[in-house]
């Protein structure tokens, strides 16, 4: 479930409010968006993937709120992790991931 919107990292682009498929955020003029309906979060991680500032953290616990702090997320280097894994981080491309994947499939001999 969405756990955190880091005020210090947020650039107020409201992208999360636009892209959230279950409308968890409310945009607030002149301020960072707020997590208005946390219980509606479906834990799809897409807000995290779309956030250009790596200001969001969606935990993997889908059915309960853990109450993580920004320090805990920072310490484990979890901000932006999912975006990096999709190749959506700056300077990267999904094509890089696709290419490495194809190479690994060949090397491992995977039928999948």
């Amino acid at each position: 479930m969405i756990e955190l919107l880091s005020q210090s990292r947020c650039i107020q682009c409201d992208k999360c409010a636009s892209v959230c498929p279950t409308n968890v955020f409310d945009a607030v003029p002149g301020e960072s968006p707020v997590i208005a309906r946390q219980e509606d979060c479906q834990t799809c991680f897409l807000c995290e993937a779309y956030c250009p500032a790596d200001a969001l953290f969606v935990d993997a616990h889908a059915h309960e709120v853990i109450g993580l702090t920004e320090e805990e997320v920072l310490e484990k280097d979890l901000f932006g992790q999912y975006r990096r894994n999709l190749g959506w981080n700056k300077g990267n491309s999904p094509l890089n991931i696709h290419a490495e994947l194809q190479e690994l499939r060949q090397r491992v001999g995977s039928p999948y």
């Binding site: 892209v19 279950t22 409308n23 479906q42 834990t43 897409l46 696709h98 499939r105 491992v108």
Partner: protein
């Protein structure tokens, strides 16, 4: 009077597409390329809505070579109870082969070369959807995000003429008059939090039924996938590497069959006690682990974010209901062009019954993506042509809205979340939904009927959330009733429909079951327009350079 009667945004188009996933996007692109003006409306965001964007699933694009296509076509033919049709498969595979690579072209990516199996993998769901959204905007398609469609508009002859819904962030209704309407807004997973599925609340099925449409294959709606118990991650492929353990660490055998996890075997174990998994079969090679990580980053998000190593540690699993999103039921396709039984109304993707290429069983992304891309391209083209034939009348005809339950009602107000919970209590338990009998089905149907009476009362509409959730509750309830009613009528075990009291396949029931009705439910057998096809003998695999 519902809040949709208030003043709001009014638009018109040749074709209205409802939905935000791959089927919606492809349908809109196909209609545009046929010269139609197109509006896409979605409950969430076109690009992130639905199961595909969240799933990061690739899909195979197969050239027209029998040794490549046959395995996909026949892999699940028997599992699906011989209800799939090969003439549909062939057509859908051809369309996918022609269309899917354009996603790469449209953003200037080099199309990948075919690998040694003669196929190539598509980009992941999140990336594909990001590109498709861009393409829609480039092609001049108007998109209304965060604007769920809530009811259909119908003309005086009963043809569908658009839809009406609510802009939940702008807090105002919208109306789109259109010559043809395509429902591509997903199936139903009953708000289980299966990955990406909480936008899939049976909205399309309910809207279609209110306009006179019917459903099919709703008895094949009991698809569950394993997920780490804390998570939403219903990615099932990697359980092929799994060993299963009980709470004392003793290995449980027999939960994988033919190299894949068996949902019913897992469900039986879960009814006895907790089940734990470790991915320790053929995963010692670091390259394999790296490959698995790159292939399905969301699967590993379930573990990385909470500090579990899925290869080295045991983790507890559950089964989450994915309903028709990975099952096969949906709006019945009534002609060769993905039209429904209602004039002007088309259906594509998970919103439509996928029995035509998947029969009574599906699961993974390959067959489902083939259906999504294929049906959407067929529907988009047909809807554009239908609208053009109507001419100016398409937008000037008088129309009326036909939405009922969950939008309008008289008498006591009701709590949508309580109705959702009551429906989930009937569809989530494995001993009600996976293992069915006349007794369990009748008991569940009786409880669902009580809820049906309740939701005839006035829905709460004080906020956009209440307005939408009330209508969703009605969709979840109605689809659950159709699923169990059809399940009651199919007195055999076929596909994913398992009857404990009828454990065998009954050859005389090789037909589709159309189901419909709102207050009074009905079913009707519909003939499969193709004889059972003999599975071809395995040929030597073709090697491409």
């Amino acid at each position: 009077m519902s809040r949709l009667e208030e003043n709001g945004l009014e638009l018109d188009a040749d074709v209205l597409v409802v939905g935000g996933g791959p089927a919606a996007a492809w349908a809109a692109i196909a209609a545009t390329e046929r010269g139609a003006s197109v509006i896409v409306v979605d409950k969430g965001y076109v690009g992130s809505s639905g199961a595909y964007a969240a799933s990061t699933s690739g899909h195979k694009v197969l050239p027209p070579i029998a040794t490549l296509r046959d395995p996909l076509k026949f892999e699940r033919y028997a599992l699906g109870g011989f209800l799939a049709q090969h003439k549909w498969w062939d057509r859908l595979l051809e369309i996918t082969y022609d269309r899917a690579p354009r996603v790469w072209e449209w953003v200037g990516y080099d199309i990948p070369v075919y690998d040694r199996t003669g196929s190539y993998r598509g980009l992941q769901g999140s990336e594909t959807m990001r590109i498709l959204r861009k393409v829609l905007l480039q092609k001049g398609v108007k998109i209304l995000d965060q604007s769920p469609a809530l009811e259909l508009l119908v003309d005086n002859e009963g043809a569908v003429a658009g839809a009406r819904g609510f802009q939940r962030q702008a807090n105002a209704p919208w109306t789109v008059k259109a010559g043809a309407t395509i429902l591509a807004n997903g199936g139903v997973a009953w708000l289980s939090k299966a990955l990406g599925c909480n936008t899939n609340t049976g909205d399309g099925a309910l809207m279609a039924a209110e306009a006179g449409g019917e459903l099919s294959g709703m008895e094949f709606s009991a698809h569950y996938s394993p997920a780490p118990i804390h998570s939403s991650i219903t990615k099932s492929a990697y359980y092929r590497y799994a060993s299963y353990y009980d709470k004392d660490g003793k290995e449980i055998e027999g939960l994988n069959r033919n190299g894949h996890r068996s949902t019913s075997a897992i469900a039986k174990e879960l009814l006895k006690g907790p089940v734990f998994v470790r991915l320790n079969k053929d995963t010692e090679n670091p390259d394999t682990r790296r490959m698995l990580r790159l292939q399905q980053p969301n699967f590993f998000a379930a573990f990385d974010k909470v500090g579990i190593d899925p290869f080295e540690q045991n983790w507890e699993i559950t089964l989450l209901l994915e309903g028709t999103v990975r099952g096969t039921g949906g709006i019945r396709i009534a002609d060769t062009e993905c039209g429904t039984t209602v004039k002007g109304l088309y259906a594509a993707g998970d919103a439509a019954s996928r029995e035509l290429n998947c029969g009574g069983f599906t699961g993974g992304a390959g067959p489902n993506m083939t259906w999504a891309i294929g049906s959407a391209n067929i529907a988009g083209k047909a809807a554009a042509d239908f609208s053009r034939a109507l001419g100016k009348a398409a937008r000037s005809r008088p129309v009326h809205a036909v939405g009922g339950v969950g939008l309008k009602g008289t008498g006591a107000t009701w709590d949508a979340n309580a109705v959702v919970k009551a429906v989930q209590d009937e569809v989530f338990p494995y001993d009600k939904n996976i293992f069915r009998s006349e007794k369990t089905l009748l008991e569940s149907l009786a409880k669902l009927e009580e809820q049906w009476k309740l939701v005839q009362g006035a829905p709460l509409q004080d906020t956009a959330q209440h307005l939408i959730r009330s209508r969703e509750a009605a969709g979840l309830l109605t689809t659950a009733r159709w699923s169990y009613f059809a399940g009651l009528q199919r007195t055999e075990t076929r596909g994913m429909h398992k009857r404990l009291d009828f454990p065998q396949l009954d050859e005389s029931q090789r037909h589709y079951l159309a189901v419909g009705g709102l207050d009074r439910l009905w079913t009707r057998a519909v003939e499969v327009e193709e004889e059972v096809v003999k599975v071809p003998e395995a040929k030597k695999e073709l090697q491409l350079a």
